[in-house]
Point group: D2
Amino acid sequence: MKPIRVTLRLQASRRCFSSTPTRREIRDINELPARIHPSYIETRHNDLLSLQWPSPPRNILLTKKDKSPHVTASLLEYAQHIQSTYPGVNILLERHTAEEVHTSLPFPIYTGSPSLFQAKVDLVSTLGGDGTILHASSLFATTRRVPPVLSFSMGTLGFLGEWKFKEYKRAFREVYMSGASDAYSSTHGEAPTSLSSSGDQGGAEKATTTGWSSLRGKSMGSSRGARVLLRNRLKISLHDPSGSRLSSASSTKSLTPPALDANNSEPHPQEFSPETDLYAMNELLLHRGSSPHLTHITISISGRPLTTAIADGMIVSTPTGSTAYSLSSGGSIVHPLVSSLLLTPVCPRSLSFRPLVLPANTAVSLRLEEGTRGGRVELSVDGVRRPEGVGVGMEVRVCGEEIRGRGRRSVGSDGEEEEWGTGGVPSVVRAAVGGGEDEDHWVGGLNGLLKFNYPFGEEEGV
Amino acid sequence: MKPIRVTLRLQASRRCFSSTPTRREIRDINELPARIHPSYIETRHNDLLSLQWPSPPRNILLTKKDKSPHVTASLLEYAQHIQSTYPGVNILLERHTAEEVHTSLPFPIYTGSPSLFQAKVDLVSTLGGDGTILHASSLFATTRRVPPVLSFSMGTLGFLGEWKFKEYKRAFREVYMSGASDAYSSTHGEAPTSLSSSGDQGGAEKATTTGWSSLRGKSMGSSRGARVLLRNRLKISLHDPSGSRLSSASSTKSLTPPALDANNSEPHPQEFSPETDLYAMNELLLHRGSSPHLTHITISISGRPLTTAIADGMIVSTPTGSTAYSLSSGGSIVHPLVSSLLLTPVCPRSLSFRPLVLPANTAVSLRLEEGTRGGRVELSVDGVRRPEGVGVGMEVRVCGEEIRGRGRRSVGSDGEEEEWGTGGVPSVVRAAVGGGEDEDHWVGGLNGLLKFNYPFGEEEGV
Amino acid sequence: MKPIRVTLRLQASRRCFSSTPTRREIRDINELPARIHPSYIETRHNDLLSLQWPSPPRNILLTKKDKSPHVTASLLEYAQHIQSTYPGVNILLERHTAEEVHTSLPFPIYTGSPSLFQAKVDLVSTLGGDGTILHASSLFATTRRVPPVLSFSMGTLGFLGEWKFKEYKRAFREVYMSGASDAYSSTHGEAPTSLSSSGDQGGAEKATTTGWSSLRGKSMGSSRGARVLLRNRLKISLHDPSGSRLSSASSTKSLTPPALDANNSEPHPQEFSPETDLYAMNELLLHRGSSPHLTHITISISGRPLTTAIADGMIVSTPTGSTAYSLSSGGSIVHPLVSSLLLTPVCPRSLSFRPLVLPANTAVSLRLEEGTRGGRVELSVDGVRRPEGVGVGMEVRVCGEEIRGRGRRSVGSDGEEEEWGTGGVPSVVRAAVGGGEDEDHWVGGLNGLLKFNYPFGEEEGV
Amino acid sequence: MKPIRVTLRLQASRRCFSSTPTRREIRDINELPARIHPSYIETRHNDLLSLQWPSPPRNILLTKKDKSPHVTASLLEYAQHIQSTYPGVNILLERHTAEEVHTSLPFPIYTGSPSLFQAKVDLVSTLGGDGTILHASSLFATTRRVPPVLSFSMGTLGFLGEWKFKEYKRAFREVYMSGASDAYSSTHGEAPTSLSSSGDQGGAEKATTTGWSSLRGKSMGSSRGARVLLRNRLKISLHDPSGSRLSSASSTKSLTPPALDANNSEPHPQEFSPETDLYAMNELLLHRGSSPHLTHITISISGRPLTTAIADGMIVSTPTGSTAYSLSSGGSIVHPLVSSLLLTPVCPRSLSFRPLVLPANTAVSLRLEEGTRGGRVELSVDGVRRPEGVGVGMEVRVCGEEIRGRGRRSVGSDGEEEEWGTGGVPSVVRAAVGGGEDEDHWVGGLNGLLKFNYPFGEEEGV
Ligand SMILES: NC(=O)C1=CN([C@@H]2O[C@H](COP(=O)(O)OP(=O)(O)OC[C@H]3O[C@@H](n4cnc5c(N)ncnc54)[C@H](O)[C@@H]3O)[C@@H](O)[C@H]2O)C=CC1
Ligand SMILES: NC(=O)C1=CN([C@@H]2O[C@H](COP(=O)(O)OP(=O)(O)OC[C@H]3O[C@@H](n4cnc5c(N)ncnc54)[C@H](O)[C@@H]3O)[C@@H](O)[C@H]2O)C=CC1
Ligand SMILES: NC(=O)C1=CN([C@@H]2O[C@H](COP(=O)(O)OP(=O)(O)OC[C@H]3O[C@@H](n4cnc5c(N)ncnc54)[C@H](O)[C@@H]3O)[C@@H](O)[C@H]2O)C=CC1
Ligand SMILES: NC(=O)C1=CN([C@@H]2O[C@H](COP(=O)(O)OP(=O)(O)OC[C@H]3O[C@@H](n4cnc5c(N)ncnc54)[C@H](O)[C@@H]3O)[C@@H](O)[C@H]2O)C=CC1
């Protein structure tokens, strides 16, 4: 039924825009203008940040849950709404999604290698569950500057998702306009001029004459700017026994087939490499995986050995991940704003390994010990197995990522500017109009989703 | 150093027995006399059973930890002691061990397919750790009547092992003589006559004229009989969605290489089959294994659905296994004499899955649900992965094995006799001379091995 | 509204029975005939027992939750139904209940000291929650033979209660008639003759000529006999440092006011005494109580020291109690048919005190150590604090009670007869007509009451 | 034996100082000069702060564990060392300690009401265990500016204590000199002039002409300055159902005897009052205490109801307290530098109350609900019961205390100055000479004291 309705709507759209077949093309990501970096301003009574665009976002990456016709239909509806309402905006899709949907859309879409996303994407919007958000985050797993993420939950609500799909119009507007009035005032009422780079072509050209001015009446003022929860990530690197950084390629190419991304059939573009760290939103996991034998993992904290765990595995988690795998392994629930790392063992052969919560800037190292029968364990980041695995003597180094310039506007120097507002996954959360009590999605999630302290015997009264 | 001492002793032995090269042969298990079944008598002030041989045991299976020269040397020493002190006794070894050691032994040894063990083995004696005991138990994983097991721990003490190797002379004597005086009195002082079957040849023939009579002076009386802790096992079967029993072969031959036994390189002889159940000493485990995704397992109790667990996996454990994997997963510690099953989830995605302890005779079923991404999970029995795995819709049925005739002597009827003393792994435990307080190996293991309630700050005083 | 309806009904009743003021009297428990002991027969496909009365029960003790007008109204309705339908039956109430309700009942009721209950009560029926059942059980805390207990939950369902109040007619009949056909057949069709003692007067006299014969048409046959779950209790005694048993009186009279029973304002009749053990249905608890300091408790198992716990307290629980306090303290959930004891620490100052499950016949001793600042801790049995408390050096000894003759009919000897069917709290459970799968109240309670493995995110679909 | 040695030493001391009886007096705290506030400077590679005195500390409060002759002897030794080596320093004692020891000291000591301590004490030094530190902290439970605390563990090491008593000379010097070179440089080489107030007399007068100059050769330079771990506290207030703050007096004077401090027999001077908050170093506990019944506590987070817990009690803990009561109740271990609050239930009647870790600035409220039978529960702060208790409808509000100006030197304005360096308990920790890996007392404590992940079977090898 749904697909039918969508098809009808699409036909209508085609007529409106008198779309021609040539417009249903897939364009190259390189044609898009350069990325616009927003800033995140501290707000007074609140630990959330306020999103501020210097000029309207133009390149929107949409990602979606796979193999769900219902979600695909929603994506089409959403993309068309954006395209028709915000004419300067370009829609960017992952390649497999682009191929799946482009014939159903009456305008060109963009795609390209995920490794180019970090240079182009102003805003990510996800349609799916927590897995889709984790996947979107993984597309920026090697950059310190993740674009803001606006997530819609489809069907079963996830813990990380904030918005219901039916709110998509309001939500997108809130994000798109965020900081608009500030920008106006800072430019003395002038509409921002074109910010597009010279390579700016195709669908992007519309942006040159619009900015927010064409949507001015729709501005919501800075007080209604989008609220952002900056979710800290882990910074992970892999080292051989001599301490040298390992790349994915050298260590395992021959051992295992390349890890397939959980959500599509392309190999994951971001892997460990000698040059870059890998960032995780939920957790790093070492696990015996398919080996029936216990792993022996020596944990060091700031270079000092803490203990050797004999266990199924070991989790280093963010507070965000505290409600994911770490929860199942017995970890405490940690609010995402507690700047910390969790160290939670998986099935430790010990009565006395209590989960630990460490300062976010702690350098944690996990080294695989000789005692590990089988000699190799699995390494997963945010639920995706890395082909590398970890061999005896190898070491995984983990640290909470540094958040620089949080809440502070840059003061001019170029060096500062570069680092300004980096770190974390800026997640757009639903902020109540009046602010205050209603806006804690996290508490709502504990009760509604995790069934936290679910009362005994309740339904008996019914 | 140890090997040298052993070699010297062996040379001495060779002289004593004037062994000839022909004696250093490996004989076939089929040449051994039929198995002798002991009975287990309840004792008054104690929950342990008293082992009673109707006539002296003759076929002793020795198993050992692999790849440890120290353990191999001990095995040689032990085998020679038995051979020289108890001339009617035949030494049976697993094939790979037989091949490894036969040239170092001045007498013939027996070997054969593990599937024949249950028809021949009177007594098993293990040298190694818990893994060696589990392996020995697995050799009898398809029979209801496991021979008594006498275990020596080598180096790192295990939780299941009772005896230190240096006690081997006393321990073996205690088991060998157990019930001797009773047997004599019941046969009016006569030495038991030959019980060997017609096929009895080779080393076995010595038994025909001895019984306990030659060792009479060494009898310790029934009051000093070996004490046995009957460790209940799980009875496991695998079923397809229609409820039919699955054999190992049909279900998976093509999918995975045959499971290699943890302790040797022979494929495991006992697998699921349409005819036989499989018995486990520690636990049955369903686990996501190498899949990164959560399993969905519906648990039924006595045919009634209890819950669908979304988890890394699920453990059904014996009380013996309560200090193994179940412990690591958060299960309670259950004394081996509590007739029960443990249901312990592994990393459940739930705040409210508390481990359960059920009556031993509960029929527990675990069915893999559609929701399981990947569609197949791993199945392990006592730490050994079964090649079958479990696919969506398949069901594992588990029940505590029935212990029949525990402690009750049969009263004559043949039918009764057949079932008499079946069920469980009869584990020979160390019984203090005066009985009483000292004999609880289990409490000792909690403190000494598991560091149960290990006091805070203790060593600070030192 | 309810009270009004009840009042109307009572007026109607009075008319029917032409009740006179003299009938609304409270009679003495000593006037009741002697108690009738049922037997409990093992059933084939089931671990529940079948209740068998040798002749119809006559003395029914009704207990109820206090301070609930709604429950009081139900009690009146229930009592009148019994009185009018089963004329040989006498209603016995606790004194404070008798005083509260006797003017509302058109027939005489009986009351007396709780210490006489065990000599008179054939059947207990409770109206309330788990607390009411625990209280009823406490009225038999010094006898080994607890009458069968038929429990109706009122309002919030409890975990121990089986029946909803609206089922009271069917439930009472089922219990009352249980074993009737057996009894008939065993007496060759004869109606059982009067079993009333000489002191039998008042309401009781009607029973003399009836038995089940007057209700014959209503018999349900033995196959429909009431099902009984025998809940094992703990046997508890208190000892001074020399090992002598302590009575309540000597140890504490002067220290604290007498413990008030949870459910009424009479002092608890059953206390520790040099002669008798005290039985508990849920648990024994030692706890720091009002002291802010940690307790030091040495736990011995079968006379052998296990460990010294430094904790808020220590629980020794029955399987029945495993869903009560022990659950809150992190203990596993143990099915009531697992013959065992649980040892669960309360807030232990240790990372490695895992809850233990021990065989029911284990002798557990808890001794308060010198280290306990304050020198005295609280002792509670089934949630009721005992005035004694426990001082340094004192010891509480606990063991699972022995169940004798479970399921076996006595074979004639008088000594046997006396012990026949003793031990445990015989709890009448709801048995499905066809038996089998539906009847496991326990599994139902896990899901419906304890929200066992309550699924994440469920209500989001709503 | 120890006391004897001490006595000898004291006699020697008396001779050295030619002490006269008049010097063995107890002087009034008001005679002491005003308190000197140090600052705490952030250090580069480290999360610890560097202690900086503007001028040498003069008023040292010594607290000790009670009822331990060994600790008293150490206190005498320590006090004499300070007095003889640092002549400008005055020794301040709690009244009961002053009375106990003054005759054994050859110089005057000071004492007075604890309410005056916060105006006078430059530095606290404790001799005892964690309880003594908690007690010392409680003496500053109503002020935001706790003096630095230098703790020596006596006998059984505590988790909060850093130093062994045998290190007292080095430790005290390190603290005393901390910041000396900085101070010199900031005053261009001049010795600081007298800072003593006019009331400065007796032992204090020596300070007037010294400063650090007399000890200059002993300066260790600022790089060797004392390292401080700022332990965040909880800020607690008590409110009646209308939201008004409650004082201790009004609410409970008549109900219970005044709470006696754990460590001495004086009533605690710091209680809840309408004006002041109460600070806790470990935790706030609401607990059923002597009531046998479950408490019903509604928890709100930032004004939004989270859940109603039905439990023995509820803990709101600091990270410091995460290894105290919260640990026993199943909470995670949280590093003291993680800015957070822990919410850990005590024996919750729920399967799904997982401990929570919240941002330190979260406003947590606990309100006692009607459902609580008994109607009143106990309230403890850092293990000391408050006489108030909490009645139905009353609310306890808790928040992590704000740390202002951490690591930032004040920039001149008086208002700033006042708040400069406030918040937390500045705990002097042992810093390794070279800094770096060795200095993490916390990791050492996990292993050495809490036996974190204590390995199985270790001692078996011995
Ligand atoms: N035993 C367990 O609890 C396991 C958990 N996981 C978790 O799943 C994550 C990967 O997610 P998917 O790719 O969707 O795998 P998936 O499809 O197996 O789903 C994992 C579940 O975790 C939930 N989830 C993910 N992140 C969460 C968070 N931060 N807070 C609360 N719930 C969260 C999802 O909603 C989903 O219900 C991993 O990062 C890991 O944390 C993965 C394997 C086992
Ligand atoms: N995370 C965990 O705790 C894991 C536990 N296992 C356990 O290991 C068993 C297989 O043992 P191995 O082949 O030796 O594997 P292994 O060499 O990996 O050793 C498992 C460890 O468990 C100990 N163990 C085994 N059975 C025990 C028992 N009943 N009570 C106390 N400790 C026991 C052994 O002494 C050894 O230390 C499995 O049955 C399973 O229970 C297996 C994998 C993971
Ligand atoms: N923190 C806790 O969990 C505490 C538990 N209790 C339990 O309460 C019992 C006394 O009950 P009441 O007098 O009614 O006190 P209560 O009115 O304080 O209620 C205790 C709660 O425990 C439930 N309960 C009692 N026995 C149970 C069982 N065997 N299985 C499952 N739930 C059970 C009751 O339904 C009630 O909800 C004690 O025997 C003790 O087990 C008592 C105090 C604290
Ligand atoms: N069941 C439990 O675990 C209980 C714990 N406590 C704790 O005791 C504290 C009061 O201490 P005391 O007056 O000495 O009472 P206490 O003499 O009863 O000792 C409590 C124990 O806790 C230790 N401790 C205190 N604070 C600690 C910390 N922050 N980290 C690690 N260990 C710590 C002490 O060393 C001592 O071993 C309370 O704040 C509370 O946290 C109090 C009562 C019960």
